[in-house]
């Protein structure tokens, strides 16, 4: 009797297992699954500073950035700049529709930027858009953006995820459900469902025909559904990738790269990242006020073993302040004029600064395993020239709090940003005490950076940033250490995957069986 019951139970469970939602999906529907270690907190791109990739695909922007990082038309089919560089006129594409069927007009562009700039919105993007004096609607498909001063970087800001053009009625129609249950853009994918902490499900926008010209596919996406999953445990993420539960992982922990490279079903794609890892110090505190001490630290760090062993050869040594992926603004001579490993010279410089016996200091880092290992190696290398350090680790919130309070001495940071204006953020004296965490207050730096940022055009801007970098290298404001590579794992089923230095676009891909 018992055995009979057990058999029935097992049989029913077995049959039930075939009716799981995973198997209910239509057979011929193509679904691409992407994995992230963290999910977004909100999908209202106007009100957050941390953007889910979903927002890149739900929204379109006036300007797009192609695979070579060049600015190209997006929702704006073209733009003009007035002779004084203060009025930018954008001509919108016609026949563009939002996901709710409403047509895109100049009103939506004005609403988006006005909402970002409204202090009541408290948009983190407001600072970047502060250069805008007014957005003026010229006609239904033409909009003028009037600037307070010349600012060639406007194109970058308009191509950022935060500048996705939203439907003007979004807040009024959806209230507090906007950004959680509803997100309305014009992009190739539409929000279907967001299971918080688990997954974002996007359906393709079947009406999409306005993809940027540089894209191979400007029409509707070839893949019907994109799922962005949150998988916080890296072992689990890799297991999902290897077994086909996930098609693409945008971040691959360095410890797994070799294993994935040996897997015939997975392609590991490496590309230039717009990131920089560096060692910094509080330049307003003894002994770091002395340029010789700063230079000595730069000479004491041997970047090769760090990139090779700590970063498992997934990084290149860095000598400049911007990553080479920022082709226009990167100072090509950085490696040449930067400080090479020379412990002897470091000791000489320290002696010249009156520190022939070295000195003691703290070395702070965040508590990620990468930073921890990095800190240990840096500690050993600094000891070689007589600088004794005590390592202090912080969680991410605590780290920022410590930097804001100005308690740092030596500290390790890594930034990730696809624009030279990162130098404005970190090194202008107006940014003290934070984000100017190296506490660098210097008139010449301010002049060089401001001149670059407000240059009349892009070319002069790029030249201006190069001059700024050269000066920063001379002053040894930081000790640049490495430029990491982006490592993306893509399963073989994904066809036509294209690497983009900052983003990728699933509407370009297809999925084979």
């Amino acid at each position: 009797m018992f055995k009979k019951k057990l058999t029935i139970i097992l049989l029913v469970s077995f049959l039930l297992s075939f009716v799981s939602p995973l198997t209910l999906a239509a057979e011929n529907e193509k679904t691409l699954v992407l994995a992230y270690d963290k999910g977004p907190e909100t999908m209202d791109h106007i009100k957050t500073g941390w953007y889910s990739d979903a927002l890149v695909w739900i929204f379109d922007r006036l300007v797009s950035r192609d695979y070579n990082f060049q600015y190209k038309p997006g929702l704006a089919k073209r733009w003009d700049v007035s002779a004084d560089g203060l009025i930018w006129t954008f001509y919108l594409r016609e026949n563009v529709k939002f996901h709710n069927g409403e047509p895109l007009t100049a009103r939506d562009v004005k609403w988006t930027f006005d909402t970002i700039l409204d202090p009541k919105t408290a948009s983190p993007f407001a600072g970047d858009m502060d250069v805008i004096k007014e957005v003026v609607i010229r006609d239904q498909h033409t909009v003028d953006i009037e600037l307070k001063y010349t600012f060639p970087n406007l194109l970058f800001n308009l191509s950022a995820t935060a500048a996705g053009i939203a439907w003007h009625g979004s807040y009024q129609e959806y209230g507090s459900d906007y950004g959680s249950k509803y997100v309305i853009g014009t992009g190739p994918y539409m929000l279907k469902e967001w299971r918080k902490g688990d997954r974002i499900i996007l359906d393709k926008n079947p009406d999409y025909t306005w993809g940027p010209e540089w894209m191979v596919n400007q029409g509707p996406a070839l893949i019907d559904q994109v799922i962005l999953r949150t998988i916080p445990e890296e072992n689990v993420l890799i297991m999902e990738l290897e077994t086909g539960g996930v098609h693409i992982s945008k971040t691959v922990p360095t410890t797994f790269v070799e294993r994935l490279e040996q897997n015939a079903e997975v392609n590991v794609i490496k590309g230039e990242a717009t990131k920089l890892g560096y060692l910094a110090y509080a330049c307003d505190q003894e002994p770091f006020t002395d340029i010789r001490v700063r230079q000595a630290i730069n000479h004491a760090i041997d970047r090769k073993p760090i990139t090779l062993f700590v970063l498992r050869d997934l990084a290149k040594p860095a000598y400049g302040y911007l990553p080479p992926a920022l082709k226009d603004e990167y100072l090509e001579t950085s490696a040449e004029i930067g400080y090479k490993y020379n412990p002897e010279r470091a000791r000489e410089l320290l002696a010249a600064a009156g520190l022939e016996n070295g000195f003691e200091t703290t070395l702070s880092a965040d508590n990620s395993s990468r930073s921890r290992r990095l800190a240990e190696v840096i500690q050993a290398q600094l000891l070689e020239v007589g600088i004794k350090t005590k390592i202090q680790l912080y969680d991410s919130s605590g780290y920022v709090a410590m930097l804001k309070e100005g308690k740092q001495e030596l500290f390790i940071r890594q930034y990730s940003w696809p624009n030279a204006d990162i130098l404005d953020w970190f090194l202008l004296s107006s940014q003290m005490p934070y984000p100017n965490h190296s506490r660098w207050v210097d008139l010449k730096t301010d002049q060089l950076i401001n001149a670059a940022a407000t240059a009349p055009n892009w070319e002069e801007r790029a030249e201006g940033y190069k001059k700024a970098q050269q000066y920063l290298i001379e002053q040894a404001v930081w000790c640049p250490i490495y430029v990491p590579e982006n490592v993306i794992a893509v399963r073989k089923e994904v066809k036509d995957f294209k690497y983009h230095p900052w983003m990728f676009f699933p509407s370009e891909f297809d999925l084979g069986k």
Partner: protein
């Protein structure tokens, strides 16, 4: 009984109140600022200050605390700083994920531990006892996260019998429930065994035996009921903890439960979410304990609601 219940509930209010103060203070004294987590590094000081003002974070701590308290009395746990949505709504989304797993864990844990503990006790120093207790020792020695990864590796990754991560179907429930249920059963089994051993040495059991009662009757009707009393205390406590969500399990199996919500909120300094989740956790522990108290009376008629 109603009076007893009301009295018990009122007596717990200071605990909840004390918890809110402790959590509030610890959170606000820890270094870090939730606005950093909203805005990222690239923000002007004006925007930063504006966001702080909008969120009420510029007000003195005491004002913030009383605002939080006043909101609680209106059934409002506030709004998440990061998500901009009501905390209650956020917690409600996570509760089913945590509760389904929690209850499954309890069923596995107690469903295994009680029979195993009894078998071990009544067959003391025989191979059955050794088998049960070696199993329990093994279970106790394995950290849940490690055992969870092990189960994942063999049953999901190698044999592909279960999904590796996520939630939604019963298949997603099996491995996390086993990971915690089995390790938890180990501890409970040892408690059942020792409790049972203590009872079967008592005089009334000897009397029952000497009366010639059947062994089954002695064990299940006379001994077990009394042996279960400490186990019920344990159950009461476990209900609270299990429903509070296991961070390890939720991270390993990618389940968006209360535990993961709370950890993420702590790292991001999303004060209202941590406070709200702690309130839910504390309440469920208190309710679990009260449930245990009520169950005592059902099992042991000597205990009355006085």
């Amino acid at each position: 009984m109603l009076f007893y219940l009301i009295k018990r509930i009122i007596s717990k209010i200071p605990i909840l109140f004390g918890m809110t103060i402790i959590v509030f203070l610890i959170l606000h004294l820890a270094p870090g600022d939730p606005v950093d987590m909203i805005v990222g590094p690239n923000v002007t000081p004006e925007v930063y200050q504006n966001i702080r003002t909008q969120l009420g974070l510029d007000k003195p701590l005491i004002v913030q605390y009383f605002k939080f308290l006043a909101n609680i009395f209106q059934g409002n746990l506030g709004e998440s700083i990061l998500q901009g949505r009501p905390v209650l709504e956020i917690i409600k989304e996570r509760i089913p994920v945590t509760f389904t797993l929690g209850i499954t864990i309890l069923i596995i844990s107690f469903g295994l531990a009680i029979p195993a503990g009894i078998i071990a006790a009544i067959n003391r120093n025989t191979w059955k006892d050794y088998l049960c207790m070696s199993g329990a020792l093994l279970g106790m020695s394995m950290p849940t996260f490690w055992f969870g990864l092990l189960l994942l590796y063999f049953f999901a990754y190698k044999l592909r019998l279960f999904p590796i991560s996520g939630y939604g179907t019963w298949k997603h429930l099996v491995l996390p429930a086993l990971a915690m249920g089995l390790t938890d059963a180990a501890i409970t089994a040892r408690m059942v065994r020792s409790s049972m051993l203590e009872i079967i040495r008592q005089d009334y059991i000897r009397t029952a035996r000497s009366k010639g009662l059947a062994r089954q009757v002695i064990i299940y009707q006379h001994a077990l009921k009394n042996a279960l009393i400490p186990i019920i205390t344990l159950l009461g406590m476990k209900i609270g903890w299990v429903l509070g969500g296991s961070v390890f399990l939720e991270v390993i199996f990618s389940r968006p439960g209360i535990g993961r919500l709370m950890i993420n909120a702590i790292f991001a300094r999303d004060y209202p979410v941590v406070q709200g989740a702690m309130l839910v956790l504390t309440t469920s522990i208190i309710l679990g304990n009260m449930l245990a108290d009520l169950l005592y009376a059902v099992i042991d008629p000597r205990i009355r609601f006085d």
